[in-house]
Amino acid sequence: MSALTIPAVTFDHVSKAFGTKQVLRDISFEVAPGEILCILGRSGTGKSVTLKLLMSLIKPDDGRILVQGEEITCLKEAGISKVRRKMGFLFQDAALFDSLSLYENLALPLLRLTDKSQDEINAIIDKVLGQVQLSGDKAKMPASLSGGMRKRAGLARALVLEPKILLADEPSSGLDRITAAEIDELLLLQKAEHQTTVIVVTHDVHGARRVGDRFAVFDTGNLVAFGTASEVEQSENETARKLISEF
């Protein structure tokens, strides 16, 4: 089987509960390499949990999760670490380390996980910061960045190791339309230039329709619709139809 025919991500009957609250119920879907999947749904329906499961930050109660054909649910710490290197994660609030400058935030994974020289690291950081238009801010501390800048800095950190799979948790939340559109452009650029698989959790239907190839709609822990925008629009599920067509 060629690399292109192996799904980048597979969820196979995955369930997850926190205490008595069932967050995900028997979720199954696949994401093709180089595809952008947008996960839509109301708050508290398990969208962010899906990303954290994929990053192995939490473990599923049932089911299997595969990344590029490799099952990650049964991996030990070293194996998980290896799989995580293929992925980048843009957190909802960027999750930059507030004790490190923007430059140090980006340099940290490069210094620890690669054997690149200082010059190579500087070149990569300059390139990535240029992409997110933060070239002049690398000495700043995260606390002194605005919300939009922090989000772009978080994206830069997620991209610095050139991930094959990029996970973005509400990349446009709290941003004005122009900044949100800039983030969307960066996701599209990442897909076009590096064939990166992107999974975006979002409430922004405008943005989702602009960048998404396919859409997954979650409702009360269930995957109620999956497909292209037009397929979801014709879904039997009312919530899915409302979410995808909301303008």
């Binding site: 990053m55 290896k82 992925m87």
Partner: protein, 253 residues
């Protein structure tokens, strides 16, 4: 009771993981230096000021008592013994439990609440090794050093107090202070603070790293870090003193 046993078990497992991870590469030299600066260097003003003030006050109190018995020349020796054997190590431990313990607890809890710890994990970096181990190591190294500063600033405070009370010279005060001191009075009590440092680091990091209560957990982690660290330090002090007396029986007389 069951919860207490569960808590002690969890903290012990956490402490064991710290020790194991300490000897597992990659070694976090840069992070340890960063934490040493934060925990050690930045605690110096508090430790020196507290030691100096306590030394001066203690001398004033012991002076009135010893003068009654015509033993005012013993003031420096009493002061030195008190500081090196008990006051310096214990006070340094408790002060650091307050300043550093609350800091470690709050910082790690905040990092957990703001997903920074998940952020570190997502970069394939072991957050426990990166955040917890350097803080514990820095506490273990910093506490004995800060205790020395506490001891000597206490003596300086006492010396100054004596200078104004009786005109005693610095040289005379120090000569008398160390006339009855032996290495066994100095080294074991100072080194026992490494255990205090380990307690502060492990307990505070435990509360901060394992919290899952969001912003509310930050305040709780800071408070519990100080309270539990202080209790454990006092308890450990009793045990360690018995241990020192067992190893150095001449100190027990």
């Amino acid at each position: 009771m069951f919860k207490l046993i569960e808590f002690v078990g969890n903290v012990s497992a956490f402490a064991f993981r710290v020790v194991v991870d300490l000897f597992r590469p990659p070694f976090e030299g840069e992070q340890i230096m960063r934490q040493l600066a934060e925990i050690g260097y930045r605690s110096l003003p508090l430790v020196i000021a507290s030691g100096f003030a306590l030394g001066a006050v203690m001398t004033l109190h012991t002076r009135s008592m010893l003068v009654t018995f015509g033993a005012s020349s013993m003031i420096p020796a009493v002061q030195a013994m008190a500081f090196f054997l008990e006051i310096g190590p214990l006070l340094a431990g408790l002060l650091l439990a307050g300043r550093v313990g609350s800091g470690i607890g709050a910082v790690l809890a905040n990092m957990r609440a703001s997903e920074q710890i998940d952020g570190i994990e997502s970069l394939s970096i072991d957050s426990f090794k990166f955040l917890v181990v350097p803080r514990v190591v820095a506490c273990v190294i910093a506490l004995p050093l800060l205790t020395l500063f506490m001891d000597f600033s206490g003596l300086m405070g006492g010396c100054l107090s004596e200078f104004f009370s009786s005109g005693s010279s610095f040289y005379l005060y120090m000569t008398r202070a160390f006339s009855t001191m032996e290495w066994s009075n100095f080294i074991p009590p100072t080194l026992k603070t490494a255990v205090f440092g380990f307690i502060i680091g492990v307990v505070s990091a435990f509360f901060g790293y394992t919290t899952n209560e969001g912003a509310q957990g930050v305040g709780k982690a800071a408070t519990y870090s100080v309270v539990v660290s202080s209790l454990f330090i006092i308890l450990a002090d009793v045990i360690l003193i018995k241990f020192i007396f067992f190893v150095f029986p001449e100190n027990a007389i």
